[in-house]
Amino acid sequence: MEEVPGIGLKSSEMYSLIGLLEDRPKARYDFSAGPTVSKFLLGLKEGKILGKKCPRCGRIFVPPRSYCEWCHVATSEWVEVPQTGIIHTAVVSYISAKRQRLEKPEVVGIVRLDVPGYRDKEYEFAGLFHRICIDPKLVVTGEAIGMRVKVRWKPKEERKASILDIECFEPVR
């Protein structure tokens, strides 16, 4: 098996192909958040982080779910959870969603929230994925990992019941 089939093109050749057709789908979507996440988003508007508890195993899910995926029963009780936690992991992005260079790098990561009922090194935890307002250097040195952070809210009048009502997570001082 020395010769394999296939004709590779250069990028210039790609756009002068015979029969080339350019198409851009014009689909629009309106997504519903569902009853449980809708209430969570309304909580963000009020400056609260809400979790939901499974009546059988007692796990508190943040973000909340309508059902417990392990026990497969409906979650019941709403719980307001602390707005503090530690950084599980964080990275510095130099590119946008469309893979263009960003002028100012952005730090994003996962925050493990201080929600009761989870053991210290448990595989699962309650947490959020969001921007983190810290110096990118701390990510590179590793000081960011395990750092204590809290929610920085947007001003109340700017909140729209969206995940972006949280501006970012910032270090606890």
């Binding site: 098996m1 020395e2 010769e3 394999v4 089939p5 296939g6 004709i7 590779g8 093109l9 250069k10 990028s11 050749e13 790609m14 192909l17 198409d23 979507y29 997504f31 958040a33 996440v37 988003l41 899910f61 943040v62 973000p63 995926e69 599980h88 992991t89 964080a90 990275v91 510095v92 992005s93 130099y94 590119i95 946008s96 969603a97 469309k98 893979r99 790098p105 994003v108 990561g109 996962i110 090194k121 448990e122 595989y123 699962e124 935890f125 309650a126 947490g127 959020l128 994925f129 969001h130 921007r131 990118p136 990510v139 590179v140 590793g142 990992i145 395990g146 969206s162 995940i163 972006l164």
Partner: protein, 392 residues
Amino acid sequence: MRPNIFVKDRVAIVGAGITKFMRRSLETPRELAWEAASQALESAGLTLKDIDCVVTGSAPDTFDGVHFKGEYIADGSGGISKPITRVYVGGGTGVFIPDAGFWHVASGLCKKVLVLGEEKMSPAHPHPQYVFKYIWDPILERPLEPNLIWIFAMEMRRYMAKCGAQKEDIALVSVKNKRNALDHPSALIPANITVEDVLNSELLVWPVNLLDISPVTDGAVALVMTSEDVARRLTDTPVWVDGIGFTLENQHWYNRELSFPRYLNYAARMAYKMAGIERPWKEIDVAEPYDPFDYKELHHIEGLMLARPCEAWKLVKEGYFNRDGELPTSPSGGLLGVGNPIAAAGVMKVAELYWQLRYEAGKRQVKKAVHKAVANAWGDLMQAGTVIVLSN
């Protein structure tokens, strides 16, 4: 989880075919599928008339830009007027296709199955990256305008923090795989590079640089899988499928520890149990762990229990996973070197093990004697684990 290990027919792989892996191919997706399928049939000494069932796989339709991709590539895959199935678990599809081929044969439903993975990522431009936007949760994740590389960078950063690995340790995987790919006739980006080249390549999302990642690729790979009686008639050296495994995690990737791939570990345990392997780190001779990113190979080596958690990066430094090492991994060159046409890449890994176990890999043949091999693929938001265990 109690997989039934008493299968009706033992399953063998008896042929493989592959196209060149290209950044942009002139061939259409169905032509790529036909090239790989016809080559696989020829290598097995069969024609399409002999095939009972066809299993195909391809990743999101948005890459090729054609919906019903299973149906679209069906004729090229040889599936017309035959029972044909398309399976799909994101990047995990690659190994899931032969997994599905296995249960077609093992159940006794089909005797001779053509399995095929195809992917043409190049039509989406300026960059297929943006297509990945649609894998994120529309309410809680998409407003943050995530880039796909973020999630890998987060996982890599967590692995580094938990295991004490540095970027230069992890870059060694990229160096090894791109070097291995120099001997692969399909390879897209084989190269002799150094750790410095990786560290100095374009920084995308710290800690991920350009050379830490596999490229956008077009290509197709096919295998022929048959029952034992058919395989014995066709060849003296069939490669047996000893075990398969596949499991799925939930989509809440930011609600779990990222340093160890549990999604893969469960699938691996299922496959090893079926194969009767109790100590994979001793019993497996050669492996093709899924390596779309360099740290991902280490992650998967640990998930496959070929090294202890957090120890794979130390073993890479010792040359343990080199082609002449104790446990060669990605002797093909992997996704980092040969290329990553998503669904086809996993099948390429299984095809490589097929050639290795038949001692037909030519310059890529590993130095040691080989008896048992394992490949895996992973897909979606740190979710799907698919595993296959082979022997000769």
